[in-house]
Symmetry: D3
């Protein structure tokens, strides 16, 4: 499968915090940065995510803002 | 300023493609990955972005999806 | 590849309108509805999209609002 | 009311999972597909959503990514 | 029509910049602030937006980040 | 810090509803309108948000839809 989604960052799940409806998943990238993703609890179950799972974080370019100091 | 935005990835602008309304900005992260951001042409002007500008890519956690192979 | 993205709607590209930076792609679903997607012009080229291409529209659940009459 | 939101898909609520802050609502479209929406618990109460409610799923075109096999 | 979209800010269109695919519309709120919206060029035509049009800006709560100084 | 994010609305936190993963924060703007933001529970803790905190609501222009009556 090929995605229009421009930003695809591979990493490893380092924590999962599940609520009733939503879950927050933290992913450590190869470079060391930690990315946070908020997805449904259903998606966590469906992808069988656990600490240590290899995943790719996907971000559409329209969702990326920029900051300058 | 401190942001609720969980994902803040520092990098350098490597290209800017401007249309009439929107612009696509590519940013190379320290680790080498290239991130694409779609922002308004106004924002590019307002932040005075050029190739080589130091920026931080900002992504809200609700915008991060996950893929598993 | 398996995605956390809850909404995956298969269809066929019926039109592509490209600007300098962004493009608007219309996809007809099996049921007849037409879905509009705004992606980068780069993504259209990268996926080699043309009228008639088979694609799947992907929408994260956090992006779906609801209306009642 | 007329919306700029390009994607408007009518359906019927088939389940609601509420957490403290957010809720996940599943909607079955006329064509049979099930759409998932993550909205605030407040919005579920405000729209008086229950299983069987007729709703329209709204998705801005900038939130629609595309995949090709 | 009633929307799950929590944030609905009434205002008046003060400018429209159209590209080939997308358009940037600026809206002045009653309190004086100017809001910027990036929508498809199609949506501008479909809503027959011109300077002076009365509109309501709609923002899903999952799209609102917060900053503290 | 300067942001590409076009919409920056200053206000005061009036309520925080926290779930396990996500939280819903309401902010009253100077003009009186109340804005709702859905962010991670982590972000609420990290920004030390409480009722009365001065914050700025941030919304990317690609997230703003428009309605006309």
């Amino acid at each position: 499968m090929k995605l229009s989604t421009r930003n695809q960052l591979p990493g490893t799940v380092v924590s999962i915090t599940s609520g009733e409806a939503m879950a927050v998943v933290k992913i450590q990238l190869a470079g060391g940065e930690v990315i946070t993703s908020s997805i449904t609890r259903d998606a966590v179950a469906d992808l069988e995510l656990v600490e240590g799972s290899a995943v790719t974080a996907l971000v559409k370019s329209t969702e990326v803002a920029l900051a300058v100091l």
